[in-house]
Amino acid sequence: SQTIHQWPATLVQPVGSPLSLECTVEGTSNPNLYWYRQAAGRGLQLLFYSVGIGQISSEVPQNLSASRPQDRQFILSSKKLLLSDSGFYLCAWSLSGTGATYAFFGQGTRLTVV
């Protein structure tokens, strides 16, 4: 069966520090991969998505970036965090090649920038 791992679960980082969040999927190949951010009490904002290795689509201009160095690995990065980067970050995957795709989520990372 397919599983998705996201770590760490919580993170407290000072303003201006770098960020690296990692997500890996097991049990499937060539998944679509997504990074979302959720501010407290708000909805799910799509940040990046990827349909293949090295293919990244950015949805929101910001100081974050994403990379997909391997088929089932998705990384969210920042060189310098801002206070506004605080939130709940969720990685998700879906099946490729079908219009019926829906999303499975990792456990999420709660990031607090101080």
Binding site: V51, S94, A100, A103, G108
Partner: protein
């Protein structure tokens, strides 16, 4: 542009019913519903693949009106465990994209 959900929030007593609507300005190819508990990741509830389709699971069901670009989630005889935030989700199935977005969300609280 993300689908708009209504209402934004609803409070129910146990046993009462609720309807959550999801409306899109763009064509919907399929609609998916999720429930998110506080502090947790969203959990998939059900998928509707084509217009006119209705589905149900226990006392939660949904419909999909493709022409109106809308979907509705029906919660019947609500239970305390139904509390959470509900999101509709949809993907553009155009090959090479599969951009997946969520609706604005509906917070539901069921009181004893």
């Amino acid at each position: 542009q993300q689908p708009v959900q209504s209402p934004q929030a609803v409070i129910l007593r146990e046993g009462e019913d609720a309807v959550i609507n999801c409306s899109s300005s763009k064509a919907l190819y399929s609609v998916h519903w999720y429930r998110q508990k506080h502090g947790e990741a969203p959990v998939f509830l059900m998928i509707l693949l084509k217009g006119g389709e209705q589905k149900g699971h226990d006392k939660i069901s949904a419909s999909f009106n493709e022409k109106k670009q809308q979907s509705s989630l029906y919660l019947t005889a609500s239970q305390l465990s139904y509390s959470g935030t509900y999101f509709c989700g949809t993907a553009n199935p155009r090959p090479g994209t599969y951009k997946y977005i969520f609706g604005t969300g509906t917070r539901l609280k069921v009181l004893a």
